[in-house]
């Protein structure tokens, strides 16, 4: 089966828990008392992060998600990754998905770089036995030197990015979802990363990239969608959508 992701009228609503709504004690009090206490427990506000998103992503697509901060780019990626189940609408996914959402999170701070490579591999469904074959290659790419045997807690942000990037690109998922966090690496690494990314992309069937950088998008993608306040504002070729984004901004 070829890789594909299909969304129909997908919406995602986030509950924002504040004050008493995080407290079981207050909820219980709320059910037995009325009046002022009752207001406390129900101050639940929801935020509509995505609304009515309909989208088909097929084999060969290099889709860019563009939009301002808070437009729902990351949320859409998380829906595509299967992390957030849509609160409305339907999604259908086939193919092995790998998501590079945030760089540093997900690392176990007290484990060494080498151990984290194995752990990350496991989260991507790769048995430690198979992952060991990649460890040296990954360690070499990161240029971390002897830091690879130090706890990750001692790493700088840039070092963590290198490690995560190297691990994620050492495997070949059919569908790769990427949030723009590569920028945290230094310039020299960015060039190296670009090279590796290109090799990597030739092996994947679908790429979805959320980004602010139109130049990066134009270089890597062949389709784009523009999100605005959780809605699809435009979809089509990268140039058209980029133009719509630019005109909307000015």
């Amino acid at each position: 089966m070829t890789a594909s992701l299909r969304l129909r009228d997908v919406s995602v609503e986030f509950p924002i828990y504040s004050g008493g709504s995080r407290s079981l004690r207050k909820l219980l009090l709320n059910s037995t008392t009325q009046g002022n206490l009752a207001r406390d427990a129900s101050d639940r506000i929801t935020v509509l992060a995505l609304s009515g998103v309909t989208l088909d992503i097929k084999h060969g697509d290099r889709l860019a998600i563009i939009g301002a901060n808070g437009a729902g780019k990351s949320t859409l990626l998380k829906v595509l990754a299967g992390i957030y189940a849509p609160t409305g609408g339907r999604m259908y996914a086939s193919g092995r998905v790998s998501a590079l959402l945030t760089a540093s999170v997900g690392l176990s701070p007290d484990a060494t770089g080498r151990e984290n490579i194995i752990i990350r591999g496991m989260y991507m469904d790769v048995h430690p036995r198979d992952m060991r074959a990649h460890v040296d290659e990954i360690a070499e790419f990161t240029e971390l030197g002897s830091f690879i045997d130090m706890p990750v807690r001692t790493y700088s942000a840039g070092m963590m990015v290198r490690l995560c990037f190297a691990v994620a690109t050492s495997l070949r998922p059919e569908i790769l979802l990427m949030d723009e966090w590569l920028a945290a690496g230094d310039a020299a690494f960015l060039n190296k990363a670009r090279q590796r990314m290109e090799d990597f992309l030739s092996g994947t069937s679908v790429l979805v990239l959320a980004s602010h950088s139109l130049s990066l998008v134009k270089e890597w993608c062949n389709r784009a969608i523009l999100l605005d306040h959780g809605r699809v504002a435009a979809i089509g070729s990268v140039d058209d959508v980029a133009a719509a984004y630019e005109s909307g901004r000015t």
Partner: protein
Amino acid sequence: MVSVAISEVEHDSAAGWPTPPSRGALAWRDIADGFGKSWMWVALALQDTKVRYRGSVLGPFWLTLSTLVMVVAIGVIYGRLFHVDIATYLPYLSLGLIVWQTFSSIITEGCETFLREQSVIQQVPIPFSIHAYRNVCRNFIVLAHNLVIVPIGLVLFGIPIDWRVLEIIPGFLLLAINGFWISILLGLISARFRDVPPIVASFLQILFFMSPIFWPVEMLGDWQAIATLNPLSAAIDVVRAPLLGAATAENSWIVLMIMTVLGCSVTFAVFARFRARIAYWI
């Protein structure tokens, strides 16, 4: 404003798509898939243990040592208070404490099942049950380290061992199953209600004193029913009695079974209903 399409999909409906599986089916698949990935949670639990005791000379045996110290300290004083023979009291106390420690740390850490793995849950869609299996497995690794003092104690105090010892196998199995549903249920509730972990912690303290861990059940006299109906004392009994060469209390297995069935059913219903919300809550 440049005019561009906002949808390229021709047939806007999801008609003709396969019917999505029910919540129950998804929850069951999560639990089964998670169990199937035992290589993952065993390796993660081992890694947890390794990291936790990194840099200490004794490693996880620190816990064994601290259990030993606690047993001797409590044993000598309470043995005197209760006027019981040290040779029977110490083994009784240590086995009770070992099971209690496993149980209570599964519960305490069970509150953190999903909260602790927040960054993983927000990044990769692996079955949620994996985090619960990992919690149980990690605590059983600690239990295994604590159990090394048992054979020493058995020999030291000359406790006869017979075929009844095998009863601890189903005992530990039930302990694991109960640990699993507790990890899921408490993990879910704590992800939604952040005041649950401290509430659970204070209940645990009460439970410790109410369970026959450091006091012998017989001392309750006519009130022994209070202890035998307590699921925790049943859990302790099915491990402790066989190792002490005694028969388990007649209620213990029944109480434990009821707790297992009841706990699993309630947890499954809650898990099926709220599984998809976990990523939103944490």
